[in-house]
Assembly symmetry: C2
């Protein structure tokens, strides 16, 4: 019997509903495999601002740091959109990434054949898509200093800084090569080396790290070209590794390929061993509380936690298989249903997954 | 009779072939409408490095500055890929943008119904796509200082700077609102205001400028969401305005929608009245000199020069109509042909356009 403590940060909008679904699945996995999962809940995002005055209360930081893995729902919503930058829901997410040094964001993009028809792309383009984007998450344009506004000669200007140290690039490159080894052995490193100095250092450093992973095939691609190739030939990719901002844009672009944003999980991992697992989709305030949200991305994120955080490969596969099964059986929440009438609720979908386990 | 001097910068790869095609079309337009176009050729990019030691020789700068409009082919190629940053072909492009203050890059994205089948996206998603991306081209992450490498505590780090002054944002926002007025009247301003200080200034400034264009509908969208919406609902856009780097990525992403990269033109305009017109596609060194390149993007760029640079709307429309006609008649260069056997050459395609004028 393995005991694990899981920090649960439901957040805003549909966050609470989908994390509840993931917990239900995890509890069943625990029962089936005789594990003990202890869940500790914490506030984050808008709900934390409302109750505690800030998007990442100290208590949440402590619960998270002391856990074996963090399950997050989603943050943000129109209610908090007019708050100043430092006190917005998203700030909670940025802070927890930095506080726990979660520098590697993994976003697998994989076509579920049952859902291929709902992709905006043609079937022949997206069939068999299966790659992972590894986004650097604690450096680059998001966190570099100076990041400020100033008056120069009576005019306002604003500055952000894209900064990378060699060591930051090295560790994310290593993650990428390691991931490629247990996949198809191909890494594409994405940068803008024809314009950015940071990209030139990125490219050189990735090349250096590659010397120790010469069994993995490495190529470099400019970010504008990558934005094209993701659409033109998404099946050509295996592992993509890139800078924080480029990764933000490209991974959201990639999330559209499979036609099932509501199914995509993500993992953010770092140096401490504690990872953060969350759906790619946002807080969807328009359908919050209506029992209509698709819980599969949160459930799939929980599976990533089992696999990458706890080394429970078998349990993770069991969840993935259950998801494929319910999709094959025709269960569809409203986001992926052909007709809204046929859609099942969040709880019905979750129960179906539990039954399929 | 109107006389115009046109600087022609063929550049590298297929650049010379496609600019030659554009010149042929312009000469015919001149003849038909009794204009006089004087063409002055200059070196840029890799060929300039080879012949003059740098990607933007002084002579080219002078020819360009003294012209009424600049027609550019494409720059770059593997031959020059190992040169240091300051002496690469692309540097010529960046320098001429800065030297002539070409701060507004216009990239229309429009579906040609004859080519809709070659899009990677489903027909129902891309039919009737018709928007323009207005990318800020002389500021932001491309040109901000510091942009350098340094050793800190024995470790190398590299820095780029995303800097915007209010006045830079103001003038590009004005372009966007003006463009929207003669289109569908809708501007989407794309930024990353939840993370970047420069984006928050961007958003506020665009809002301020909007006060003088209240007949135009304005909304703001985060760049990651924009990367999704371009695929999910491309027909929802009319005018998109955004920062230099975001524009680079999003406009290349958008160029894939119509399935006809080889047809997309661009215009870069500034404060001096001299604009630079170039195809969106690159130098395609693999097919250079084979008379296989698609000349339509260069021809269409020439049409943009007539329209935006010289105020010759009728002439521009005549070229656009000729392009539509040859496509409808089934002329296809190899990049857009269903079977390579049926493809016409660069010169055949150009002759067909001239005949259709
Ligand atoms: C909410 C926002 C700050 C965040 C980011 O930009 O990193 C989100 O878009 C993401 O990708 O996780
Ligand atoms: C060649 C390169 C420097 C250039 C850019 O990034 O601006 C190109 O990608 C473009 O979009 O015109």
């Amino acid at each position: 019997m393995t005991k694990k403590t899981i920090a649960v940060l439901p957040g805003d909008g549909i966050g609470p509903e989908v994390t509840r679904a993931a917990i239900q699945v995890l509890e069943n996995i625990a029962r089936l495999h005789d594990h003990e999962f202890v869940f500790k809940e914490g506030l984050i995002g808008g709900s934390a601002i409302d109750e505690k005055g800030g998007p990442l209360p100290l208590e949440t930081k402590e619960i998270s740091a002391a856990s074996d893995g963090i399950l997050l729902g989603a943050v943000g919503g129109p209610k908090w959109d007019r708050l100043p930058g430092a006190n917005r829901p998203e700030k909670g997410l940025l802070e927890i990434r930095k506080a726990l040094d979660l520098y590697a964001n993994l976003r697998p993009v994989k076509t579920y054949s049952a859902l291929i028809e709902s992709s905006p792309l043609k079937k022949e383009i997206v069939a068999d898509v299966d790659f992972v984007i590894i986004r650097e998450l604690t450096g680059g344009l998001y966190f570099g200093e100076p990041k400020k506004r100033e008056e120069i000669d009576g005019e306002t200007q604003a500055v952000d800084t894209l900064l990378y140290k060699e060591s930051e690039i090295k560790r994310i490159a290593e993650r990428a090569f390691q991931a490629a080894r247990v996949r198809e052995g191909k890494v594409v490193s994405v940068d803008k080396a024809n314009v950015l100095e940071s990209s030139r250092l990125w490219r050189e450093t990735v090349d250096d790290v590659h010397d120790s992973y010469s069994d993995v095939e490495l190529s470099h691609m400019l970010v504008d070209n990558a934005a094209m190739q993701l659409i033109a030939q998404p099946t050509s990719f295996d592992v993509i590794v890139t800078e924080n901002t480029f990764g933000d844009i490209l991974s959201d672009e990639a999330s559209m390929l499979t036609g099932s944003l509501g199914l995509l999980p993500s993992a953010s991992m770092g140096s401490t061993g504690v990872g953060l697992y969350e759906p790619v989709h946002g807080s969807a305030p328009d359908i919050a509380g209506e029992n209509r949200a698709n819980p599969l991305a949160a459930i799939s994120s929980a599976a990533m936690m089992l696999k990458y955080g706890f080394g429970m490969e078998k349990e993770a596969e069991q969840i993935e298989a259950a998801i494929e099964k319910v999709l094959a059986e025709g269960y569809r929440t409203s986001d992926i249903a052909a007709k809204t009438d046929d859609a099942v609720t969040t709880t019905e979908m979750t129960d179906a997954v539990v039954k399929a386990l």
